[in-house]
Amino acid sequence: MNRRRPLRYRDASRVAVLSCVLCLIGRGARADADYELGHGIDVGPINFAGYSDLVANVPSRGTGSLVLNDLSLFVSGHIGQLFNPFTEVELADLGLIHARAAPGDDHGTGDLVLERLYNDSYLSDSITLRLGKMLAPVGEWNVIHAAPLVLTTVRPAVTYRNFSEYATGISVLYSDPSARFPDFQVYWQPSGEFSERPSHLTVHQYRGVAGVHVSFPLGLLDKLGFSFQHSKDVLGVDQSLLGTDYHYSVGQLTLQGEGTYSDISDNGVIHNHDTEWAAYAAASYTVAEQWSVYAWYEGFLDRTAPSTAQDVLLGIAYKYEPALVAKLEYLQNIGGQPVNRTGLYASFSVLF
């Protein structure tokens, strides 16, 4: 599942107060509009929206669980050309039934997490300057990770595990209005991450991150992307990552996937490998207006693992509305040390 970073409750209160203050600014333009599920609620120039994701898991070994995987609130303000704040705070991994696998296990206790807190300044109709904490654009899944918007309940490890998911610093985004040229984003995090998650919630903690993502639009949703990210973790280990991602539709069939390859300096830290690679490839097929079936395969060679983890997943999704999705899927580990547990997963998610 996703990796989370806790936010202190005092910080969360500040974010909430800031959001309320922003609500009082300006007058209700969009507030006159009719509500549409997935588009949130407008109060003046501020939009309040969010998503929730309830997940039931029945593993082949161990205890099953019912978990509120995410309850997210994101608030965006559109005040002017230079001031367009955005924040996302979420309650993550809150176990409702049998969430703790063992005494002392921290899973399922729930964490308040600051996912994003930044301001966008539109320097021109194609260039945006972003300052703050943002999602790092490595692949597509990490930046569109809301449960109703992604393909499966179980997240492939390649989409979050072996790179910095966040960047706290500065970023420049380019997007050609007529889509004649590829979109790109460069970003730089000079030091530590704002509201960093503790070590028990993440595999790596990063002290410096820089990267770029280039996306070639092939259609409204179809694209081919390339990523580079250089990072240094808290142990002083340097990592240079190259990645690619794609999304392509042919009729009712959609193909998507991501892959990364990393070169890792040991810097005195013992690894099994000096390189790390991972890839997933997925296919989904719309069998009826609201029904689709999907599958993915993933191989993941972690720097510390002796062999490549391999998972296969099969599932079916029902979209009552595009913003309201139920999924049922089965994941089978077919080799290596498992990253995701073999078992049955079901989820119900809504974007509101």
Partner: protein, 141 residues
């Protein structure tokens, strides 16, 4: 013979459907300072959230009719040239990334009233409706 009749009937239905699609007017709030007419590509860039500000820097507020309405179906097919399902997914993704999808108005009168009153807004109405107190940016035959 039966096949020929069937083909002629289908062609007739298609033709009548095309001819029957009402002309649309792309309208904007009078405060919008832009040179008309806009091309379909420029209008599509607004609704696909790739152009988010008018030339003077003020914010664009695109307005859509409700899903399933004839006006939205025509506008989507003729100007955006995308299917509705893909557009819904696209707007949900853009919203999660901090961009605001078009707001929705449930009737032509509501659309006109919204565009008349909200600075920076842009929408569409049928050409049979008088574009009072709005700026016409384009015609969609």
């Amino acid at each position: 013979m039966t096949k020929t009749l069937l083909a002629v009937t289908i062609a007739g239905l298609l033709f009548s459907g095309s001819a029957g699609a009402e002309e649309l007017l792309i309208i904007a709030n009078p405060s919008v300072n832009v040179t008309a007419p806009l091309s379909f590509g420029e209008i599509a860039a607004i609704y696909l959230l790739r152009t988010i500000a008018w030339p003077d820097g003020s914010r664009i507020i695109p307005v859509n009719r409700e899903a399933g309405s004839e006006a939205r179906t025509n506008f989507t097919a003729r100007v955006l040239q995308e299917d509705n399902a893909s557009l819904t997914i696209y707007w949900n993704e853009m919203h999660f990334m901090g961009k605001m999808p078009p707001v929705v108005q449930q009737s032509e009168q509501a659309m006109l009233a919204f565009v008349q009153s909200v600075p920076g807004s842009v929408g569409y109405i049928s050409a049979s409706m008088a574009p009072v107190n709005v700026k016409v940016l384009a015609r969609v035959p």
